[in-house]
Subunit: 247 residues, 2 copies
Amino acid sequence: MSATVTAAMVVIGDEILSGRTKDRNIGHLAEVMTAIGIDLKEVRVVADDRDDIAAAVNAVRARYTYVFTTGGIGPTHDDITADSIAHAFGVPCEYDAKAYAMLEAHYAQRGLEFTEARKRMARMPAGAEHIDNPVSMAPGFRIGNVHVMAGVPAIFQAMLDNVVPTLKTGAKLLSDMVHCPYGEGTIGDALTQIQKNHPDTIIGSYPKYMDGSFWTELVVRSRDPEKLAAAKADIVAMIAALDAAKP
Amino acid sequence: MSATVTAAMVVIGDEILSGRTKDRNIGHLAEVMTAIGIDLKEVRVVADDRDDIAAAVNAVRARYTYVFTTGGIGPTHDDITADSIAHAFGVPCEYDAKAYAMLEAHYAQRGLEFTEARKRMARMPAGAEHIDNPVSMAPGFRIGNVHVMAGVPAIFQAMLDNVVPTLKTGAKLLSDMVHCPYGEGTIGDALTQIQKNHPDTIIGSYPKYMDGSFWTELVVRSRDPEKLAAAKADIVAMIAALDAAKP
């Protein structure tokens, strides 16, 4: 098995914590990480507060291979992510010459004033590298193992597409799902035994409830396709035995 | 202004971090907290891992007035929240006599076996108090300032409805939204000045993007309705000035 590659995400924004905006980036990053064999281990949602952002980023960048942030890199006063990341790394936050020139040209071409607000989007921690933004030009950036991206989902997704090819990836965690028409109370004992019998798999049980009835989605994960198939076969047999026992 | 009441949330579950299940509880808790005047300050999503869960819960319970967890209290082997919370508090995790009797009667009434798996749902940290579950009976629990609830959204929401009346609440943070047809680059400088002129408000700027055009939702928050109205008036005037300046 190749070494495990891990990641954490820091979602930055008062609007998520107030409930005004529903985050759509956690699920997207989680799916992309799973698809390329990186284990997303932790997500933190923090407010637009420099110390909170820096503390969260410092906690996770020390612990995981990669960190991905979303939010707070726009032109307004509440966009403080660049400053907060610079603070976390103990480096100055400055106008990046390349980003400044690029944005200046971008707005000139459109006949728009290059306002102080727009200039803010050229600020980055010293030593950061750009993450291209094909949607609206203003770049994200990478410093150390931290990738700083936009919160607007369309822009976040486009930036992430540019980041993915630069990441080292692990052995992909394979996964297979079995629909189980029984609730967790019915299958729990048998499932515990199946998990014990298949220690190199991770068996997840996800209870579903609608209109008074329960069912379960059982997901088997493993980096080894044969071990995954063996555990899945035992789960299918468990469900068949329950079906056969029905009156 | 009454004292600020704060909260954090810990979302527990591999299925969220793998992207299989999209969380729907963060947004709901955020809305409810905002509605009752509690500031949700931080959310963490952690894996089904005892030490990760305990570390996250211990970090936030020391810092905020209330903690709310979702997930991992069902009957299967991967439901380890009760044990992890007991570990966090340094107390044993035991069968709760009241929960055990209640669940035993519940399953007897339905002619269902009270399996080892179902008995797991009666386990709680010593000293915990029930949070009633009107949907599927198995209770959540409160220990100290930590409220442990189900991950299935319908059950989480029902449990939270039972918790809300027990919480002390702060002065409600009022909020008002102004639709702004201009992007952040256009309004950023003026908005920075408005924020400076209204220090007792929090002005959030949320960029929106679709089909090549940008607009912004501007949200003013304050615990004082007059200060909120004054800041909002300046924002409306800013937009009117931009409209008037259009060719």
